[in-house]
Assembly symmetry: C2
Homo-oligomer: 105 residues x 2
């Protein structure tokens, strides 16, 4: 679903990835990381889609909440397994959302 | 593929959408818009994935190139059809990328 983010400004972490053929535990870990992220102070929402390329955008109140989530122990362990097993390549971009607008039928 | 964006800073336009059941001409128009965007001054790259939710992130040199692409006539016509036919809901976020880092095996 489209994240129901609050008033500007806020931050987006755009995580673009291509997986390896290794998928053991991947779905469970991905689901667990979403659950964990949702419990973090400053978490505002998350959006995800995957075909060959996967894009996950998580939204955060500020750089400090992003930093704390990055330093979370379980998240660090998951990222390490990601580098070793699940991802062939990825790119992370941290961006300050300056404008947003939406449309709904 | 993951966009090979240049050195910071640059802008990201995060377009998150949920489609209607109407898909006539959608793929053709989406492909055409990617081709057209690639020809615009200031275009840096694009990434796209769709399941129920679709996420397209396009990257741009600055706000001015984003504005000019928004004002492009063919793009405006496509957006109008998007609102009328293809999208049930969407959200666009314009964000200044402040940090990026990548991993490759």
């Amino acid at each position: 679903m489209i994240a129901n983010t609050p008033k500007l400004p806020y931050y987006a972490v755009i995580f673009s990835s291509i997986k390896t053929n290794e998928s053991a535990d991947y779905s469970e870990m991905a689901d667990l990381m979403v659950q964990l992220a949702q419990q973090q102070d400053g978490f505002l929402g998350i959006e995800s889609a995957r075909n060959e390329l996967g894009i996950t955008v998580s939204y955060w109140r500020d750089l400090d909440s992003i930093k704390k989530w990055k330093e979370n122990t379980d998240h660090s362990i998951a990222r390490e397994r990601g580098r070793k097993e699940w991802y062939q390549t990825f790119k992370t971009r941290i961006a300050l959302v300056e404008r947003d607008y939406s449309f709904e039928k």
